[in-house]
């Protein structure tokens, strides 16, 4: 939808591979705020405060980053992060190169990355395959083969490839973007306004949802986020508002309605003949729905109040939910498929023309479409506000404004932010102060975050390291702290899934819960330890780090010294003395084990289980092969001659240790 803006972002500045070469401290400029961070008052040193800030406002410190933040000033670093305009050229031009979907519009994506049933439909429409030819397919394998050939000849790509790009870009941005806070907040707000790849109807829109509705708004006003998510096809489909209509509408001409009904039925018959069963079923449902006066769908109306704004105890009633649903009738997506049921609708809209549509009260904004002919024109009453009869699109905008500035929303959102950034159980006082700023600034997220860090409560030593990392935060912090080179970002997804976070696939609109009890259970904890070992001993294909380089290519003189060095790198500003005391006997154990380990180095890496653990594994066979070949090459590491070296094992134990699970 907005490829132009996107390209513009891509062309900015230069990426920094080594973070010690940090950009100079910015001069305070217009749009920046004077910050007062009361960490000293809370009893933290500047070093400790910087470490805490990096733990909570980034996906983890890279080597040297802590010192850089201390020397440039915590306030200045935070200013930069709140501006979110640091150059990211390396990321955008090199790392994300080849991710073509990132620059595509919804329409381009929908007509390129398709599900098997859509491929079939397009194939028939383009005359590439005979309507009855799928009857020939003897079994599932043959069917898949036919679909694959069809996709090749029609220049289509499987939707799984789209998901791979979505997943990989998240990993790469989190690991390598200089605008860390923006990525942390993108993760936060996506989860708050969750949509899911598990739903067929919305899966093709999730990538642009994060790109267009979430990321550009994470540091803006809350109302912008709410509006952008409300109008995006992903949300419209995920919570069914796209199909929520009023049947008491008088705008729609009954004759035209009957004509449309007829046309749809004809199309359904045609689809049946073509063998587009899934499409046909959907169309039948639509027709049945139109006939049975069952137009209103309250799913989105309920969640916008319960999950997105006021919270379940926000003081609204079921009546309010129904009234909001009535206000949002007609909020749908502009049909963007070149084929299938949507294309018929699109042709009708095009024939009528934008001007006529606007005269009839329709609204077209990018992929968002407001259909006046589906809107409930009656009077509504929401939270004590009257919406007189005869309203249209503007009613929805009024509801968004009403909800986004409501005191219940302010309290609900601020508590959620404090839960993410401070503690699973943030203090009432802190949330109150943030809430006041939310209301005063009309939901300015930047102001609310500043209010949070300007409270002593944010810096309380008891709360430092109180939060447990999500699996994604764990993996990305391991990558960042070791400067690992991620050649196959999808491996991160596999491991996160194993640890309980199949991101982008969380089915419920609630998003993942944000508390330690959810993430930590026996199965997930064992996998966290196993992740540490696999990561550090370089047994995750496509993720490589160089332990020696992390110590400036100096060989540690002893294993004890190595422990100090790597413990410092992985857990900066923790109680090192205690850590080392605890780990030292273990290191010595490992040292004895080193001989055994060296023997095992000669054993081939076992790839099978680690590469293909989920059912959708977008990596192709050839890619896997190439990767396997790549991995079997001897690893060039001066100190860590083998993947089972004591250093790697010690690092693995640190990454799997309880301290590294905390942020």
């Amino acid at each position: 939808m907005q490829p132009l803006r996107f390209i513009k972002v891509f062309s900015l500045g230069a990426f920094l591979t080594i973070v010690t070469a940090f950009t100079p401290a910015p001069q305070p400029s217009a749009g920046m705020f004077k910050l007062h961070l009361p960490y000293a008052k809370a009893g933290l040193t500047r070093q400790q405060a910087a470490a805490h800030l990096l733990n909570r406002f980034s996906f983890g410190a890279t080597p040297g980053e802590l010192d850089a933040v201390v020397s440039m000033g915590l306030e200045n670093w935070l200013q930069q992060q709140l501006q979110a305009s640091l150059p990211d050229e390396e990321l955008n031009t090199r790392l994300l190169n080849g991710y073509d979907a990132l620059a595509m519009s919804n329409a381009q994506i929908v007509n390129t990355y398709v599900r098997p049933d859509q491929a079939l439909q397009i194939g028939v429409a383009k005359g590439l395959i005979r309507r009855d030819s799928i009857r020939v397919a003897a079994n599932t394998a043959e069917y898949r083969m036919m679909i694959r050939n069809l996709m090749d000849s029609a220049n289509l790509k499987p939707v799984n490839e789209l998901h791979r790009q979505l997943i990989n870009q998240k990993v790469l941005r989190a690991a390598y973007s200089n605008n860390q806070l923006q990525e942390v907040l993108t993760d936060f707000w996506f989860n708050h306004f969750n949509v899911s790849l598990t739903k067929n109807q919305s899966q093709q829109y999730v990538l642009t949802y994060e790109r267009d509705a979430i990321r550009p708004n994470v540091l803006g006003h809350f109302s912008s986020l709410l509006e952008a998510t409300a109008k995006h096809p992903a949300m419209l489909e995920y919570l069914d508002n796209a199909s929520s209509v009023s049947n008491d509408n008088n705008v729609a001409n009954p004759r035209l309605k009957a004509q449309l009904q007829k046309r749809l039925e004809k199309r359904a018959d045609q689809l049946m003949e073509e063998g587009n069963a899934a499409q046909q079923a959907r169309l039948m449902k639509q027709i049945a729905g139109q006939k049975k006066n069952e137009g209103l769908n309250e799913n989105y109306a309920r969640e916008i109040m319960e999950l997105h704004t006021m919270g379940v105890d926000g003081g609204y009633t079921q009546k309010d939910v129904t009234e909001v649903a009535r206000v949002l009738t007609g909020w749908t997506l502009y049909p963007n498929s070149e084929y299938g049921a949507g294309s018929a609708q699109r042709k009708i809209l095009e024939r009528v023309g934008l001007n006529t549509l606007q005269q009839r009260g329709f609204v077209v904004q990018g992929d968002f479409l407001y259909r006046a002919d589906k809107h409930d024109q009656g009077e509504k009453n929401i939270l004590g506000h009257v919406f007189p009869a005869g309203g249209g699109y503007e009613e929805g905008m009024r509801v968004i404004e009403l909800l986004s500035t409501h005191p219940a929303t302010a309290a609900f959102i601020c508590k959620k932010l404090a839960t993410r950034f401070v503690s699973d159980t943030p203090s009432v006082d802190l949330v109150k102060k943030m809430t006041a700023v939310f209301l005063k600034s009309k939901g300015d997220i930047k102001q609310v975050l500043i209010a949070m860090v300007e409270q002593v409560d944010f810096w309380k030593p008891a709360l430092v390291h109180d939060k447990v990392k999500s699996p994604f935060e764990l993996v990305i912090s391991a990558i960042r702290s070791t400067h690992a080179d991620v050649q196959d970002p999808f491996q991160v997804f596999n491991w996160c899934a194993r640890m309980g976070q199949r991101f982008y696939y969380y089915q419920a609109p609630t998003g993942f819960p944000d508390n330690a009890a959810f993430w930590i259970n026996t199965g997930s904890l064992l996998n966290r330890m196993n992740f540490g070992l696999a990561f550090a001993t370089q047994k995750i294909p496509g993720i490589r780090m160089n332990w020696a380089q992390l110590n400036n290519n100096h060989e540690p003189e002893s294993v004890e010294q190595a422990l100090t060095v790597f413990s410092d790198i992985l857990l900066p500003e923790r109680n090192q003395e205690q850590n080392i005391k605890r780990l030292l006997p273990l290191v010595k154990d490992v040292r004895i084990g080193a001989k055994i380990a060296a023997a095992a180095d000669n054993a081939p890496l076992q790839m099978k289980e680690e590469t293909g653990m989920t059912e959708d594994r977008p990596m192709k066979k050839q890619e896997r092969k190439a990767l396997a070949k790549n991995t079997k090459q001897p690893l060039q590491m001066p100190y860590t001659a083998g993947v089972n070296s004591p250093i790697a094992q010690v690092a693995g134990i640190i990454i799997g240790s309880p301290e590294f699970q905390r942020k």
């Binding site: 799928i134 009857r135 739903k199 067929n200 109807q201 063998g275 069963a277 899934a278 046909q280 079923a281 959907r282 449902k285 049975k292 309920r302 969640e303 319960e306 390291h465 447990v468 899934a497 194993r498 309980g500 199949r502 089915q507 419920a508 609109p509 609630t510 819960p513 330690a516 930590i520 259970n521 026996t522 199965g523 904890l525 064992l526 996998n527 330890m529 196993n530 070992l533 696999a534 001993t537 047994k539 605890r582 780990l583 273990l586 154990d589 490992v590 084990g593 055994i596 380990a597 095992a600 890496l605 076992q606 680690e610 094992q649 134990i653 799997g656 240790s657 309880p658 699970q661 905390r662």
Partner: protein, 420 residues
């Protein structure tokens, strides 16, 4: 393999603890302190749920073969007990069981398996996603229910237990298990260990290190869960899993479902405190070339039936403790479509197997399948709410009797298909 029952007989809980290498397991200690204390090693009942994702054609699995309207609607898919038409197992003179379910037929005859037909959700969505979501959350009109019905069931059982109380044999936690109560998603029990590929010695050393580190941490949740994890590893006894031999004459199909059920049988027999198990079966979205006695549907159904039959036989004397229930999000169109398959419909059927099931019957309110009787003129109407079956099974077998909390917003009555 440790046998919990033997300990119960001798009353030797301490013996069990010794088996773990000394010391009372943390979760035992926690349970002992808890107000809701029930001995965690009291022999518990196990409910096994299988979700058939993709919407199984209930009308083909269990066909109302005497209905002329049904026969007319499916010229290419119709089967009957007559040898010339597919040879269904005649269940009651009206319904016939698909021949691929030959493994399950004996249990129906022995009245240990019940079938419920025309079952589904009151929400008429025909989207896989929405219907599965509603069935697993147990609230067919609310998306925002954060918990799954099986997770609520865990809470309602009202006692603390081992880390293996609720296990899903899947990669990710299913929607049914979302919620506050701890549950485990694991696709392979052998992964439940500290692993260093190709280097078991180093793995052992690392495990020891981790155990010490988690023992010393100041974070209470990491400390407690760490302890439980290492106890659970010892409890599981990977060697027994690796060398597991199913009961004589039992062969599990080499399929995901067969493998999942085999691992559930291992957990049941290991007496590690399993009370709820979950497995999935895919491939039911048969829009094209469904086949009849042979073909895609029959192959899938054969795997489904044979996996369950193998599991049941393998359980042996444990059968008394276990009830197995299947579920699918909706059924399929009465009429066959243009590509030799069926499309998304409404009511389907499910199976309940167990010694406390009043089996040998097809529970149904299915009427004639003439067009006027169908939902939206095309689908088998839902005449039995899935919650009335789930609540009945959970109520009797797991002794959960708070259906208002198990299924918020539902005030129906359980279907009496269990022995009371």
């Amino acid at each position: 393999m440790t046998n919990r029952r033997a300990f119960m007989k001798s009353g030797a809980m301490a013996l069990f603890a010794t088996g773990l290498g000394g010391g009372l397991p943390a979760f035992v200690a926690r349970a002992a302190q808890s107000q809701k204390y029930i001995q965690p090693y009291k022999k518990g009942k196990v409910l096994v749920c299988i979700f058939q994702r993709g919407a199984m054609d209930g009308l083909m699995a269990v066909s109302p073969y005497t209905d002329p309207a049904f026969k007319a609607a499916r010229p290419g898919l119709y089967m009957s007990p007559a040898a010339t038409e597919g040879k269904l197992f005649d269940l009651d003179g009206r319904f016939g069981l698909h021949p691929a379910l030959d493994g399950l037929y004996p249990y129906f005859s022995e009245k240990r398996m019940a079938i419920v037909h025309g079952v589904g959700s009151p929400n008429n969505t025909r989207s896989h996603f929405d219907a599965q979501d509603y069935m697993e959350s147990g609230t067919p009109f609310s998306k925002s229910t954060s918990s799954g019905w099986l997770n609520r069931a865990i809470g309602l059982m009202g006692h603390d237990a081992t880390p293996f109380r609720a296990v899903s044999m899947t990669n990710a936690l299913p929607r049914s298990f979302y919620g506050q109560e701890e549950s485990l998603a694991i696709s392979n029990l052998q992964d439940f260990a500290i692993q260093m590929r190709g280097n078991p010695m180093a793995a052992g050393l690392a495990a020891k290190s981790f155990e010490e580190l988690y023992d010393q941490t100041s974070s209470s949740i990491l400390n407690r869960t760490g302890k439980e994890s290492f106890e659970a590893i010892k409890m599981l006894n990977l060697n027994s899993i690796r060398n597991y031999k199913a009961a004589d004459g039992v062969v599990y199909p080499a399929s995901p479902l067969g493998n999942a059920l085999k691992q559930i049988a291992i957990l049941v027999k290991m007496n590690v405190g399993l009370e709820l198990a979950f497995a999935e079966s895919g491939g039911w979205d048969t829009h094209f070339n469904q086949g009849t006695a042979n073909g895609a549907f029959a192959r899938n159904l054969k795997d489904f039936g044979d996996s369950i039959a193998a599991f049941w036989k393998d359980l042996g004397t444990y059968q008394d403790d276990v009830t197995l229930m299947t579920m699918t999000e909706f059924g399929r169109t009465v009429k066959q479509n243009g590509t030799g398959g069926t499309d998304h419909g409404r009511g389907s059927c499910l199976f309940v197997l167990g010694n406390d099931v009043q089996g040998g019957a097809v529970y149904n309110k299915v009427s004639s399948l003439t067009k006027e009787e169908l939902e939206d003129g095309r689908d088998l109407p839902v005449t039995t709410d899935f919650r009335s079956v789930f609540s009945s099974v959970a109520g009797t077998h797991l002794m959960i009797n708070n259906n208002r909390e198990l299924f918020p917003g539902w005030d129906g009555t359980p279907l009496p298909l269990m022995k009371v």
